[in-house]
Symmetry: C3
Subunit: 126 residues, 3 copies
């Protein structure tokens, strides 16, 4: 990237509530990047949108029942300014509608995602 520009980092999350051990890392790394003044989004596709269900944040956590909840990591990312984006067809894949998800999630199509990926300084898919 050019010197002086703000870096843009696009995380992609493809795993959902069935893989709780994988749930925290994208939010943690995205929060870290946003705290470094990068412009950071996480795009949820495949099973990823299930993590954004209103009930998921309290139900699962990366270290099981006794560890930190997913909500902790989502909240941290949101507080740092990370944008949460969801893939339209993957909502249908998981029998979800946008209203099932936590507030602040924006739905985008495949073309907008590809544009973001092409323009990003890094695309990191989980």
């Amino acid at each position: 990237m050019s010197d002086g520009d703000q870096a843009t980092v696009l995380y992609v999350m493809t795993h959902g509530v069935d893989d709780p051990k994988r749930c925290a890392t994208p939010f943690y790394l995205a929060a870290t990047a946003a705290a470094m003044d990068a412009e950071v989004s996480i795009y949820f596709t495949m099973n990823g949108p299930t993590l954004l269900h209103k009930d998921a944040g309290e139900q699962i956590g990366p270290k099981g029942p006794d560890g930190e909840r997913l909500k902790h990591f989502i909240d941290q990312a949101l507080e740092c300014g990370v944008k949460l984006l969801v893939c339209q067809p993957s909502l249908d894949l998981n029998d979800l509608i946008l209203d099932d998800l936590i507030d602040g999630v924006r739905m985008i199509g495949g073309a907008a995602f590809n544009d973001m990926a092409i323009d990003a300084d890094a695309v990191i898919t989980f």
Copy 2:
């Protein structure tokens, strides 16, 4: 990327017929990118080559037995000009040979893949 250049996007698919829910997204996004005039390839490695088996397209689909077949998404990608590439060692990993796969798949080695990844405007791994 430089203004005026055609964007190149490299998708990588690592999941195969054992994860039908994940099978359609790379083809869908790649088709979308190709329809935007990007030069788009999907590289199949790990379990990914199993999706290209001649029989897989009719056998699985992202939404189970009643939903759209994988073949629909593969055909859409091919019609948009997406190139399908397969990793040589991962054919062996899945006990496949190139003749088991649908027509038009090209086999490339690790060095060619790395060159493509370095030159691409975006690498998106699933």
Copy 3:
């Protein structure tokens, strides 16, 4: 990337000893890239650090009990100059400490990882 520069490639490995079929590809591709004079690192996060446990290299292999061991692929990558990096919180996630891992693995934090991803010519996540 600019002509004449050495390319930098950052692999990310998120799967561990529970997915032996996936274990060899990142080491193989990273070794190939390093042999092409790129500067190559593999960052292990989520379940990835379990592959670096001192005992894992002899215990698993991509083709099961009769095939090549993981150790073969790790050694090949190390001989080509690939750097192995591990994510600090993911050690805890897998109940590991750095001393459990093979020699030469370096621990880095999320900020350092993001910087590497932003500066890399390609980030390839598995």
